[in-house]
């Protein structure tokens, strides 16, 4: 069943003014419940504009957004409920922290939902655990933490609302490899444990390849492609043309193929690369044996 359906969505910045730019042009999209969707696209292709429509921060100029079959703008009073169902993590979310302690900051969302103390406490602890926020950090001020820790606290603040759909806009920008890995594996863990839908905007093809089930490719306000990760990365030539590229490991396999090695090029993660190389070796050994 699709959790989010977008019909004929269009959005233009500065409409009717000099310098009007069409950010989204007649977008149609359906996202199935429980999938991990990676969103890729060149800077300025409309990714951020698109996701700000998901939880009703931006009102569509044309078209509809259906969350679980219900138009989110049908009832303006319900828009807050939509924001609790679709948790949106912005770029550099650590700049939204404001409370004295991390605990209070993570509790801000659940508190706005009108939950009772006990439930808030349970959710804060749950979210902190998912995001690797220790009890020590919870009791301290968010401003004493490192950049990566702050970001995890900020993401925990969204997860504490237990959204059915978690949308992350470049959650790893500016983090070291260890920090990226940590955040993404925690998000993946959240998706698998709770069965929620995750949408991840990223410029790193490796991250997308490692975590996403499906990939949405955007180009100039249009959807260029929306398919399973394998199928999307098979289209290496066009992705490069868009300035997006493909995972490094896929490049290695394309080069191998070019050098005359008879091997499949639909490889986009390291474990699968190892497997297909071993398979190739095995086949070759058997070939020479015979």
């Amino acid at each position: 069943m699709s959790i989010l359906k977008i019909e004929n969505l269009s959005y233009t910045y500065n409409e009717g003014m000099p310098g009007a730019t069409k950010a989204l042009d007649d977008i149609n999209l359906e996202i199935e419940e429980g999938t991990f969707v990676g969103v890729i696209g060149h800077t300025g292709c409309g990714k951020s504009t698109l996701i700000s429509h998901f939880n009703g921060l931006t009102k569509p100029q044309a078209g509809r957004i259906l969350l679980e079959g219900k138009d989110i703008w049908k009832d303006y009073e319900d828009i807050r409920q939509v924001r609790f169902s679709v948790g949106l993590v912005f770029q550099y979310p650590e700049y939204q922290l404001f409370e004295e302690t991390c605990y209070k900051d993570i509790a801000f969302g659940p508190k706005n939902m009108g939950l009772d103390e006990e439930e808030i406490d349970r959710r804060v602890k749950m979210a902190a655990q998912f995001c690797g926020v220790t009890d020590e950090m919870l009791a301290g001020s968010p401003f004493d933490l490192s950049g990566g820790q702050k970001r995890r606290v900020a993401i925990a603040g969204i997860i504490a609302m237990m959204p059915k759909m978690l949308v992350l806009d470049e959650p790893c920008a500016g983090l070291d490899p260890e920090g990226r890995e940590l955040i993404l594996s925690q998000v993946k863990n959240y998706q698998l444990t709770t069965g929620s839908t995750v949408i991840l905007v990223s410029h790193s093809m490796e991250d997308i390849a490692n975590y996403a089930d499906k990939v949405l490719v955007m180009e100039n306000g249009h959807i260029y492609n929306y398919d399973t990760t394998e199928k999307v990365f098979r289209d290496a030539e066009n992705l490069s043309r868009m300035g997006l590229g493909i995972p490094d490991i896929t490049k290695v396999f394309l080069k191998l193929k070019e050098m005359g090695v008879d091997i499949g090029t639909d490889v986009y993660t390291i474990p699968y690369a190892v497997k297909s190389l071993l398979k190739y070796k095995e086949a070759k050994r058997r070939g020479t044996d015979a």
Binding site: G16, M17, P18, S52, N55, L57, R80, R83, F84, G87, L88, F90, P93, Y95, Q96, L97, F98, F108, G109, N112, M113, F143, G157, I158, M161
Partner: protein, 271 residues
């Protein structure tokens, strides 16, 4: 909502208004404000309106921008009008509503008031629309230079203004981002009691101040890295030069202002 703020916005262009020397433009704008305060009769106001509209036409700034810059000030204008309408008394009441009397004088005064405020906003907005912040502060610095003699830190003031103006759009953008982030967590910004609304500002102001301080620190470091040490011995990339065209346009404006003021002599009465 915040995007509607157009004060301080600049629209690059290549028109006589854009290219006019910044110092002269500031002087003309100041004179325009003075003239607006002095002219109280309709012929003068009509001529001023002609002047402002001609300037907009020349500069190629879309008139739509005017509407945008007037919009946030409408409540203020409305307030002034209502107050004046009922408190100014004259000889013969025009309309009588209960205890309230509206006089002809009040109506005239209100019309003059509205047109004056509108013309003031439009005229002064044109200065920022057509002048980049750098040119604007360069111009101000040059105009205030004589104050250096009495140890007034002219360059430092100008630099502060440049930085402040430069950061207005950045901070607006930042505020919008933070508002969106908190709205995503269910913050209610535009409903509830007065106290609720004040409390709702905390999640926005705290991150905003923190980021403003962070930016200030980064900027200070960046300036120090480029050996900035204040105005002494500093040379400029853009030298301000007054051309023949500048003088010509200024003279035209002055003549126009003189004509507007002379209306006061020809039409002594308010009307």
């Amino acid at each position: 909502m915040l995007k509607d703020i157009t004060i301080g916005q600049h629209f690059p262009g290549n028109s006589p208004v854009h290219n006019l020397d910044a110092r002269l433009k500031i002087v003309i704008t100041v004179l325009f404000v003075v003239v607006m305060f002095m002219s109280t009769n309709f012929p003068g106001l009509i001529l001023s309106a002609v002047f402002v509209l001609t300037m907009y036409k020349l500069s190629g700034i879309p008139l739509k921008m005017l509407k945008k810059s007037i919009k946030p000030l409408l409540p203020l204008i409305f307030f002034t009008v209502v107050l004046n309408l009922f408190f100014i008394t004259g000889e013969v009441p025009l309309i009588k509503i209960g205890a309230l009397e509206i006089y002809m004088e009040a109506v005239i005064f209100c019309i003059v008031m509205i047109s004056r405020i509108l013309l003031l906003i439009c005229g002064t907005s044109l200065l920022t629309y057509t002048t980049s912040t750098i040119a604007l502060t360069d111009g101000l610095e040059a105009l205030m230079k004589p104050l250096n003699k009495i140890n007034f830190p002219v360059h430092e003031m100008a630099m502060m203004m440049t930085i402040a103006l430069r950061f207005i759009p950045t901070l607006i953008e930042e505020t919008e981002k933070i508002m969106n982030a908190q709205k995503s967590r269910g913050a209610l910004l535009d409903s509830g009691t007065f106290m609720d609304r004040i409390k709702a500002l905390v999640p926005i102001l705290v991150p905003l101040f923190i980021s403003a301080f962070r930016r200030a620190e980064e900027l200070a470091t960046a300036m120090e890295c480029r050996c900035y040490h204040g105005g002494e011995g500093r040379t400029r990339l853009r030298q301000l030069k007054i051309t023949k065209d500048d003088i010509r346009y200024t003279v035209v404006c002055m003549v126009f202002f003189a004509v507007i003021l002379s209306m006061k002599i020809f039409f002594k009465r308010v009307i």
